[in-house]
């Protein structure tokens, strides 16, 4: 599996943010996207996530599932946490697990109705337990398992970040697109997150992260926006 970008050009608000950008990330590799503020790091991630369309060039995932688009195989961890303040920590995570994870596949086996009922009850209980356990594990992996019933409104910035990182663990996606993922995380949180990224890479995942500081995993660097922003003579200056 390999994520390929060829000649990608991004235009925002009528201005070229970057153009002719080539990159390539193979399975198990991390790519750190660096550059000044406004150089287009977030734009690049949103292009890959399919939330923006490139003005030129192409971005494709080779060797992924053929029936799914790149966006459908990617996790996007943006500046905004996608958490609902009215819902508890567990409810927030359970929603994203259910919504992103898709249906739970069940085997189509024929059994008599009475047996099926008791089986279904057992299965539902087991399933609920398993699901609850997997959610609890996801929360534990980001160090939030003590606050499952707390409404998300009361979380600190770092805890909110941890909760949105738990989403990456709860639902498996091969490509992780991370926009300054370690913002607001304390040192313990950063080391937890670096462990998660290591295990994601070890299972053949791809990470593309926009970052200013060290990412916490070994990563190749893609520097964008070398040239300074030119003053456009067509735009009248305020004097």
């Amino acid at each position: 599996m390999r994520l390929l970008g060829r000649g990608v050009r991004c235009v925002r608000g009528g201005r070229d943010v970057f153009s002719d950008l080539d990159f390539e990330v193979a399975a198990g590799e991390a790519l750190a996207v660096t550059g000044r503020n406004g150089s287009g790091k977030t734009s690049l991630l949103r292009l890959i996530a399919g939330l923006l369309t490139p003005a030129d060039g192409s971005i494709a995932l080779e060797g992924g599932e053929t029936e799914l688009t790149l966006a459908e195989q990617a996790h996007y961890l943006g500046h905004r946490d996608a958490l609902k303040p009215a819902l508890s920590v567990l409810e927030n995570l359970a929603f994203w697990r259910d919504f992103l994870g898709g249906e739970i596949s069940d085997a189509g086996v024929d059994v008599p109705p009475s047996l099926a009922q008791s089986l279904a009850q057992n299965l539902a209980q087991n399933l609920a337990q398993n699901l609850a356990q997997s959610l609890a594990r996801s929360l534990a992996s980001v160090g939030l398992d003590h606050a499952t019933d707390l409404p998300a409104a009361f979380l600190s910035a770092g805890q909110r970040r941890r909760l949105s990182i738990a989403r990456l663990v709860a639902v498996r996606r091969p490509v992780w697109l991370l926009d300054e993922p370690t913002t607001a995380l304390d040192t313990a949180g950063q080391s937890l997150f670096s462990t998660l990224m290591h295990s994601h890479l070890a299972t053949g995942g791809i990470i593309i992260a926009a970052t200013h500081g060290p990412l916490g995993v070994e990563a190749r660097e893609l520097r964008i926006g070398g040239a300074a922003i030119r003053n456009d003579p067509a735009v009248p200056r305020l004097s």
Partner: protein, 222 residues
């Protein structure tokens, strides 16, 4: 749980919690209807004649009240990005969100309508006619209103823009909703024809609304 039922469940849960806005619509509906007799005066015959129209107007305005948050809230906290990226088609996700909004904000209006009918001196037949037409008509308001809610996200303007965009679209629903309810009160006009057109409007909005809203949301992503 399927992605769509998860989405519906979450939206209803948020709407029913503190600050969610499901009850705001009913309270607003109540206020509008209670104010009417004060404005019109204590003429019972006149109130009974105006009753269906007042209930329909109140329900229309109340259903618009919380509609602008339909996509805006998801847009502001970044959830909308993830919904767009997900494996669920955006059209279906839009339809699920509209359905959840109708269940949380539209259905209470219909339940409240018979009670408010008492305040307007409506008899049993008229009240049930209004409730029935609201039951059939308010989904059309939600599903066409959803287009406006999606445009409000695209244009980064909430609130009043939505009302300006959506109210003209809701005129046919209002006309046939009130016509059908009036027909149940006054003898010569028939109930069937306007009621069928109201049903047709709702069915058409189920098809057009989600597609238009999804197209608008895709355009407006940035």
């Amino acid at each position: 749980m399927t992605p769509l039922s998860a989405l519906i469940k979450r939206d209803i849960k948020i709407a029913l919690r503190v600050g969610g806005g499901a009850m705001i619509g009913v309270l607003f509906f109540l206020t509008v209807v209670v104010l009417m007799p004060f404005a019109v005066g204590p003429d019972l015959a006149l109130l009974a004649r105006l009753g269906p129209a007042i209930l329909w107007l109140g329900a229309l305005l109340a259903s618009l009240l919380t509609l602008d948050r339909l996509f805006m809230a998801d847009h502001e906290d970044g959830s909308l990005d993830l919904v767009v990226m997900s494996r669920t088609p955006l059209e279906l996700a839009c339809a699920a969100k509209a359905l959840a909004h109708w269940l949380a904000a539209g259905l209470p209006l219909i339940i409240a309508a018979p009670v408010l009918g008492l305040l307007l001196n409506l008899d049993m037949a008229a009240t049930s006619a209004v409730a029935l037409t609201l039951l059939v008509g308010t989904p059309a308001l939600t599903f066409t209103g959803m287009i406006g809610a999606a445009l409000a996200v695209t244009l980064h303007r909430g609130g009043l823009l939505l009302a300006v965009l959506v109210l003209p679209l809701s005129i046919p629903v209002l006309i046939f909703g009130v016509a059908a309810s009036q027909a149940a009160i006054s003898e010569p006009s028939t109930f069937g024809a306007p009621f069928s057109i109201l049903c047709a409007l709702s069915l058409a909005s189920f098809v057009i609304g989600p597609f238009a809203a999804a197209a608008s949301l895709r355009q407006g992503l940035d």
